[in-house]
Amino acid sequence: MPDNGTPAPGAMTTPAAATQLRKAVVVGGNRIPFARTGGAYTKSSNQDMLTAALDGLIARFGLQDERIGEVAAGAVLKHSRDFNLTREAVLGSALSAETPAYDLQQACATGLETVLGLANKIKLGQIDSAIAGGVDSASDAPIAVSEGLREVLLDLNRAKTLPQRLQVLSRLRPKDLAPDAPNTGEPRTGLSMGEHQALTTAQWKISREAQDELAYNSHRNLAAAYDAGFFDDLMTPYRGLSKDSNLRADTTPEKLAGLKPVFGKNLGAEATMTAGNSTPLTDGASTVLLASEAWADAHDLPKLATVLDGEAAAVDFVHGKDGLLMAPAFAVPRLLARNGLGFGDIDFFEIHEAFAGTVLSTLAAWEDEEFCRTRLGLDGALGSVDRAKLNVNGSSLAAGHPFAATGGRIVASLAKMLHAKGQADGRPARGLISICAAGGQGVVALLEAH
């Protein structure tokens, strides 16, 4: 950290006087195994899964009947009845019913944003403990009535006389009866996320082989983490599942190379994105226990890592200026500059694998001198990420990606890794988290071993 009040070179803003802020520490986390959509959690609602993840966390840390400062979580695919999803999950859990909660939604960055928001409250002294989390179910997704039917029903409710009602009903057409299924397409472009990424992947000339290699490493690293018992204190089984169902421990580069492309098939150039190097739709939930140092000490709980800082960014993908999922490429250099750090000061890079192409495009952008000069305002290339430090215990390509649950998965795992590593080069080990999100957004964060 630079001296307080002394802006780091290139910094755009300075953090609030750090001496007056408390530390927000990650105590630990708990998630349920992630399940491919239509699998083990087909009949589980978001509330069921979030409650299960909370109860596992409560059991791990003995938080029964504890009044937590605040719980924040969210879901991307959300039923309208779940307007108070997190509070309802808290009420169904073993926590004190006097624990307040709120919902948050920032697409795939939801989970990480709950961590950052709650950590800030802890740093400010507003709360002493918090649980951050996220959940998503693509199996139990909401299905809405069509816009035509919805308007008719609302007008029908307003109609006062029988003739008025009949007149309203006469507007109904057969096509209005078809339900409106959810889709993850971008409202302003109509393109799915995969098609957007295909544009970016092609723009950065990311090869099929490089994408498959990243996917292979994700599966291999995640499988090794399971074998080492890494998840024994990060996960609680749910509905008969004790491992992420998307994990293919026996996959090979050859098997991945044999898959047919699914995105970018009409771009002219050779299509490179397959079901193997893209994340599948997934169901799951994750939670992270955050606290002030004093609260953790008073409860005899571990302090794994400190939440140092976070940064959000957004890009203008609508007009094609940048790729839909490229916002982290802008957020990371801003975050590093504010904290006076470079890639050499980071020991673990957790870059969410929405698609292998997303990670590789982002890495390529940071290595590209022109992009870094013209778009990031740097003197030259930001630099290369040491691949040996990238997603070392696997990431979303292997684990799956229940949108809002990914942030919590990464924060808890990274905090455990940082705590295990302890010191690096005579300073606390540091980790960088980068998560891209729909709407051209990205949220990134810095954690440090406690």
Partner: protein, 449 residues
């Protein structure tokens, strides 16, 4: 898991029918609930001598309705036969026959408890008549227990040299055997080997302030142990394999404890248990080795996997964890270890050579570990459950299960809680003078010792 037959013959038409047809007539056992009176009705103490007198005084201090002489046709809650001074077989006659005359007045779920001395010590001292009198109590009690009806049980306390009728563990054992905590313990002896141990300040919370680890806590007997230790005041660390984590979390939340997902057959399991207990709860007092697996097969068809895994989980893991516990400075303040053995390890069971070897091993380990723990005021014992109504036994075919559950003096299966109660007693301060032994919780199963 419910025993419909016992419910049916416990009242009304079913009771009359069973009586007329000469069918087994199990009754619903009086099980312990906090606040419950120790005994329902007066306690008759038979036997002359200092030991009996001192015991009567101690029981009066518990506000029990103590009688030294029976009043005919007055219902008795318990009969205590103090035989500690018997030095010839003839000495048994008077107290035993006098007590016998009162048996018809023993209430349903009543208790008969003998207190005698250790025959083995007399044998070592080459005193044949004394040994005969003492060993005679063994046969007497086991037969008497089989004569009792309506949920009444007969058990004995054996005092070694150095222990008196009022030693803490003698009184502790007496309280356990009198109470509903011992509902499914029948025809058994508890040996008090020393004057060690301490009676609790609050009899309803004998484990207050203790930190207890229970392995295999996600389900069945393990979950019942966690709940019982919590009820008795302990802070519980619930341990089970990671794959059982969801059930484990439910149990941990239920008992306001913590869940530790851990495969106990890992090399570092002992250290991880100690670390968790000490870092999260500040201490470690009690370890309950309950985790166990069955991989049944006739020995002729036994493969290496079935044999190895059962030995690894059921006994090798316990030995390794105990080594870590014995080496730890955090396990030095009157520590307690209780292991779950099995009547299979005593009487044998077809198809369970591997399981019985592991459970026999548990009993041998317990005997040999007792002296190692004694230096720290610690104790270690095993509890051997008989037929217990669990999810596991619910999968036994109906006819086999019906026969198995009636093959004991109480004519019914026990409940997980019954095993847990025995474990909670042996884990308490009051059991400090009881170590190295095996307590069967089997309703005096007709099979085996």
């Amino acid at each position: 898991m419910s025993d419909k037959y016992t419910q049916f013959v416990s009242r009304g038409l079913g009771r009359d029918l069973a009586r007329k047809l000469g069918l087994p007539q199990p009754v619903e056992l009086r099980r312990y609930r906090p606040g419950q009176p120790l005994v329902e009705g007066p306690v008759l103490i038979q036997g002359a001598g200092t030991g009996a007198d001192e015991l009567a005084a101690a029981l009066l201090a518990w506000n029990l309705d103590v009688r030294r002489h029976a009043v005919p046709r007055e219902k008795l809650g318990a009969i205590i036969l103090v035989l500690d001074e018997a030095s010839r077989p003839e000495d048994l006659e008077k107290p035993v026959l006098t007590a016998g005359a009162s048996l018809r007045d023993l209430a349903a779920n009543g208790r008969v408890i003998t207190i005698s001395r250790d025959a083995a010590e007399a044998a070592e001292a080459a005193m044949p008549a004394v040994a005969a009198a003492r060993q005679g109590v063994d046969g007497l009690l086991r037969s008497l227990a089989k004569e009792l009806r309506a949920g009444a049980t007969g058990n004995g306390i054996i005092l070694a040299d150095g222990a008196q009728t009022t030693s803490p563990s003698a009184l502790g054992a007496l309280r356990f055997l009198l109470s509903g905590r011992s509902a499914f313990v029948d025809g058994q002896f508890l040996t008090v080997s020393s004057a060690a141990g301490q009676l609790p300040e609050d009899a309803d919370r004998p484990l207050a302030g203790k930190v207890a680890v229970v392995t295999g806590a996600a389900r069945g007997i393990g979950a019942a142990i966690a709940r019982t230790l919590h009820r008795d005041g302990a802070t519980v660390v619930a341990v089970d394999i990671p794959a059982a984590g969801d059930h484990l979390a439910a149990v941990a939340n239920d008992v306001h404890g913590t869940a530790l997902q851990l495969d106990i057959s890992r090399d570092d399991a002992g250290q991880r248990i100690i670390d968790h207990a000490v870092e999260r709860h500040g201490r470690l007092d009690i370890v309950i080795h309950n985790a166990g697996i069955t991989r049944d097969k006739l020995l002729a068809n036994m493969d290496q996997g079935r044999w190895t895994s059962v030995i690894a989980v059921n006994i090798a893991a316990q030995l390794r964890i105990n080594e870590a516990l014995l080496a730890s400075e955090h396990f030095r303040n009157t520590p307690r270890i209780v292991s779950v053995a099995s009547t299979s390890g005593i009487a044998g069971n077809r198809g369970q050579t591997n399981y019985a070897a592991s459970k026999g091993g548990v009993m041998g380990m317990v005997r040999a570990t007792a002296p190692l723990l004694a230096a720290h005021g610690g104790s270690i014992n095993a509890v051997a459950p008989g037929f217990i109504e669990t999810e596991m036994t619910a999968r036994i075919p109906f006819a086999t299960r019906e026969v198995a559950r009636r093959l004991n003096s109480l004519q019914q299966g026990g409940r997980p809680q019954d095993v847990a109660e025995a474990i909670a007693f042996l884990a308490s301060d009051a059991a400090g003078g009881i170590s190295g032994g095996v307590l069967r919780v089997c309703g005096q199963n007709l099979v085996g010792a």
